[in-house]
C-alpha cells in the first residue's frame, strides 16, 4: 500500500503528459495502415531511451494501448485494418460505416477498446503478482525450461508451419549470440568488427525487422498504388449513446476477459483474441445471422478483446520475463534498457515500477478514451495521408531512431541487414515473432542454462532431476508433437 501511495505521489503532470503523448502517437500509428503496433513502439523506443524510466514506461504503455485501438479507425472507415487484430472489427464496423453509422461504429470501438483495456488491467493486477510469487522459487534450470517451452509454443502457434517458426527461432538465437559471451566475456562472432563487440543493438534489429521490412513489402504495391488517395467514408454526426454502450456490457465484459486470457498465452496475439471474441459474441447472440451485416455487437466484441490482449500479454512478461508477442518483446527490450529486468525479481526489487506499469495501463485507457473523443476528426484525416508521403518519412525516422542509440552509423547498416532478412522471411510467409522473441530471450536462456550447469557441477541431468524443469521440458516435447501432428492433419485436409 505504501508503494502504491509512493507511485501515486510520483504521478506528475509531466509523466501523464508523456503517457498522453504516447497514446496519441500510438493511435496515429495504429490507425495508419502499414504501421503496426510493433513498428510504432519500435519507432518510439529510441526517444524513450532519453527519458527517465517512469516517463518512458508511461509513453510506451500509452502507445501500446493507443495502437491497439487505432487499428479500428482505418478498419471501420476504409475496410483496411491498421493492425492485424482489428481485422474482426472491419466485418461489422465497415458495414456500419457503409450504412451511414460510421460515427456509432467509431464510438463503440473507442468505448469497447477502453473498457476491454481496463478489464485486462484489473486481471493483470490480480494475476501477475500471484504468478511472480510462484515463480520466485524458480532457479536457473526452471527458467531455462520456461524459455524453451515459450519459444516452442510461439514457434508453433505463429503461422501455419511450425518448422518455419523453429527455423526463424534458430536464426534469432544465432543473432543473439553475437557480441560478448555472457559468462566469460570473450568475443563471439564479432568477425573482428569493433562495433559488434556489444552485439546487435536491439533497436537495429527491431526497426530493421519490423519497420524497414514493412516499407520494402509496401514497395511491392508499386508507386502508383502507394500514391493513390485514400477513399474515406463520411463520418456521420451520429454518436453512440450511453444506452447503446450499456446494452453491450456483457458482450464487452466477456470479450475483454477472452482477450486477456488469450493475451496471456505466448504467441497467440490480438487477432486470435478478437476473432474468438467475435465468434463467441455471435454464438451468444439472439440474432447471429445479423453478424457481418453491420451491427454494433460485432464491433464491441472485437475491440474489447483486442485491447484486452494488452494487459494479458503483460502477465507473463512481468511475472516471468517471457514476452507473449512481438510488442511485449520490444517492451522487454525497452524495460531492460531502462534497468528494469522483467521477471519475479521485478516485483521484489522494483515494485514501484510495477505499480507504475499498472497505473500507466489504467491511465492509458482513460487517455485513449479522452483523445478518441476529442481528436477523432484529426485521426480520421490522418488515415487519409498517402503512403507515398508517409513511408519515406517513416524511413527517416528509422534511420534517426537506430542512429540515436549509440550515435553510430554502423547500427544503420545493421538495421538494413535485418530489414533485408525480415523482408525475405516475410516473402516466404515466415512469422517474425519467433525470430524476435528468440533474439530477446536467447541471452537469458543461455545465461540460465549455463548457470544451472555451473550450480550442478556440469551435470546435464539437473534439467531432468528438477521436477518443475522436467515437467516444462516434457510439455515442450508434447507441444512439439501436438503442433507437428496438427500441421500434418491440416495439410492432409487442405
Amino acid at each position: 500500500m505504501e508503494a502504491l501511495q509512493a507511485v501515486l505521489s510520483n504521478i506528475t503532470f509531466q509523466n501523464v503528459l508523456f503517457l498522453v503523448g504516447g497514446a496519441f502517437a500510438g493511435i496515429i500509428g495504429g490507425a495508419l495502415p502499414g504501421i503496426s503496433p510493433s513498428m510504432t513502439i519500435a519507432l518510439l523506443l529510441p526517444m524513450s531511451l532519453y527519458l527517465p524510466p517512469s516517463y518512458a514506461i508511461m509513453t510506451l504503455i500509452g502507445a501500446y494501448q493507443g495502437a491497439m485501438y487505432g487499428g479500428s479507425i482505418s478498419a471501420i472507415l476504409i475496410n483496411t485494418p491498421g493492425t492485424a487484430s482489428a481485422a474482426a472489427t472491419a466485418f461489422d464496423g465497415y458495414q456500419m460505416a457503409n450504412n451511414g453509422k460510421a460515427g456509432k461504429a467509431l464510438g463503440m470501438a473507442l468505448t469497447a477498446s477502453c473498457t476491454g483495456g481496463l478489464i485486462s488491467s484489473v486481471i493483470l493486477i490480480l494475476l501477475a503478482k500471484t504468478l511472480a510469487n510462484l515463480s520466485i522459487q524458480f532457479g536457473p534450470a526452471e527458467y531455462f525450461g520456461i524459455m524453451v517451452l515459450a519459444l516452442t509454443l510461439i514457434a508453433g502457434v505463429c503461422g501455419d508451419s511450425m518448422l518455419k517458426g523453429l527455423v526463424a527461432a534458430a536464426l534469432g538465437l544465432l543473432a543473439a549470440t553475437v557480441g560478448q559471451d555472457p559468462v566469460s566475456g570473450t568475443d563471439r562472432l564479432t568477425f573482428g568488427i569493433f562495433d559488434l563487440f556489444d552485439g546487435f543493438t536491439m533497436l537495429s534489429v527491431f526497426i530493421g525487422v519490423f519497420a524497414l521490412s514493412e516499407l520494402m513489402m509496401q514497395l511491392r504495391a508499386g508507386g502508383k498504388v502507394l500514391n493513390e488517395p485514400t477513399q474515406l467514408l463520411n463520418v456521420s454526426s451520429d454518436r453512440i449513446t450511453f444506452r447503446e454502450y450499456w446494452s453491450q456490457k456483457w458482450n464487452i465484459l466477456i470479450s475483454g476477459i477472452i482477450g486477456t486470457f488469450v493475451g496471456v498465452l505466448p504467441g497467440v496475439g490480438g487477432s486470435t483474441a478478437s476473432f474468438l471474441a467475435y465468434a463467441e459474441a455471435k454464438r451468444r447472440s439472439k440474432y447471429p445471422e445479423k453478424f457481418g451485416t453491420g451491427i454494433i455487437d460485432g464491433v464491441a466484441a472485437a475491440e474489447s478483446a483486442n485491447n484486452g490482449v494488452c494487459g494479458g500479454a503483460l502477465v507473463p512478461m512481468l511475472a516471468l520475463g517471457i514476452p507473449g508477442d512481438v510488442v511485449t518483446a520490444i517492451l522487454v527490450g525497452a524495460f531492460i534498457a531502462h534497468g528494469l529486468k522483467p521477471g519475479p525479481l521485478l516485483f521484489s526489487q522494483h515494485i514501484n515500477d510495477v505499480y507504475m506499469i499498472y497505473v500507466s495501463l489504467i491511465l492509458s485507457c482513460v487517455a485513449v478514451l479522452i483523445l478518441g473523443m476529442i481528436f477523432l476528426p484529426l485521426f480520421v484525416r490522418i488515415v487519409k495521408i498517402r503512403k507515398s508521403i508517409l513511408f519515406p518519412c517513416v524511413f527517416i525516422l528509422c534511420i534517426v531512431g537506430t542512429y540515436s542509440v549509440r550515435s553510430n552509423l554502423f547500427d544503420c547498416f545493421m538495421m538494413f541487414a535485418f530489414g533485408l532478412l525480415g523482408y525475405v522471411l516475410r516473402c516466404y510467409k515466415f512469422q517474425l515473432a519467433p525470430f524476435i522473441i528468440a533474439f530477446v530471450l536467447g541471452p537469458e536462456a543461455e545465461l540460465n542454462f549455463r548457470l544451472a550447469l555451473r550450480i550442478s557441477g556440469n551435470n546435464y541431468m539437473t534439467f531432468l532431476e528438477k521436477p518443475i524443469c522436467a515437467t516444462l521440458l516434457a510439455l515442450t516435447l508434447v507441444s512439439v508433437y501436438f503442433f507437428a501432428f496438427r500441421s500434418r492433419k491440416q495439410k492432409k485436409s487442405a
Binding site: A170, M216, S388, S407
Partner: protein
C-alpha cells in the same frame, strides 16, 4: 528430387508472393553450414568454464541446420519444386526493394560526409519520388519541414549529435 532451371511460381500481382520455400530452406541450411567453421574461428574458447562460449552459438547453428533440412525435405515431399535459379530470379523480381536498399545505403554513407541535414534534405524528396509521390513542390516543402522537425526534436530535445558536414556547419 526435382530440379528446375527455370523460374517457378513467379508471377506479377498477388501471386508474386508465391515461392518454393525449399529455396530459402536451402539458403538457410548453407548459411548455417558456413557458420560452423566461422563459429570455431570467431568464438574465443575459454578455459575453466563448464560450458564453452562455443556451445550456444554452435547449438543455434545446428538447430538451424536440422530444422532447415527437415523443412527442405518436408517441402519436397509436399510437392514443392526445388529451383536454385529462383535465387537469381528472386533478386530480379525484387529489384525495386534492392534499389531502395541501395538508396538507403548511399544516404547513410553520404550522411557521414555531408551531415544529417544535407543528406536528408536531398534524400527525402528522392524517396518521395521513389514511393510514387509526384507533386514536386509540395514534396520539397514536406521534406524540408519534416527533416527540420526531426532534426530539432532529436538534436535539441534529445541532445543527439548527428553527423555534420565535414566542411563545417550542420
Amino acid at each position: 528430387m526435382r530440379f528446375h532451371s527455370v523460374p517457378l511460381n513467379f508471377k506479377k500481382g498477388s501471386d508474386h508472393l508465391k515461392k518454393n520455400d525449399t529455396t530459402l530452406y536451402l539458403c538457410i541450411f548453407l548459411f548455417c553450414a558456413a557458420m560452423i567453421p566461422a563459429t570455431y574461428q570467431f568464438v574465443e574458447g575459454s578455459e575453466g568454464y563448464e560450458v564453452s562460449p562455443l556451445f550456444w552459438p554452435l547449438m543455434a547453428v545446428y538447430l538451424g541446420l536440422v530444422f532447415s533440412a527437415i523443412a527442405f525435405v518436408t517441402g519436397l515431399k509436399e510437392g514443392q519444386k526445388f529451383a536454385p535459379a529462383e535465387i537469381f530470379t528472386g533478386i530480379w523480381a525484387n529489384r525495386t526493394q534492392l534499389v531502395f536498399l541501395a538508396i538507403a545505403i548511399i544516404y547513410v554513407l553520404a550522411m557521414d560526409y555531408v551531415g544529417f541535414l544535407v543528406a536528408s534534405l536531398v534524400m527525402l524528396p528522392v524517396l518521395l519520388l521513389f514511393f510514387g509521390y509526384r507533386k514536386y513542390v509540395t514534396g520539397l516543402v514536406i521534406s524540408t519541414a519534416f527533416v527540420a522537425v526531426v532534426f530539432l526534436l532529436f538534436s535539441k530535445v534529445f541532445k543527439i549529435h548527428f553527423p555534420t558536414w565535414m566542411l563545417g556547419g550542420f
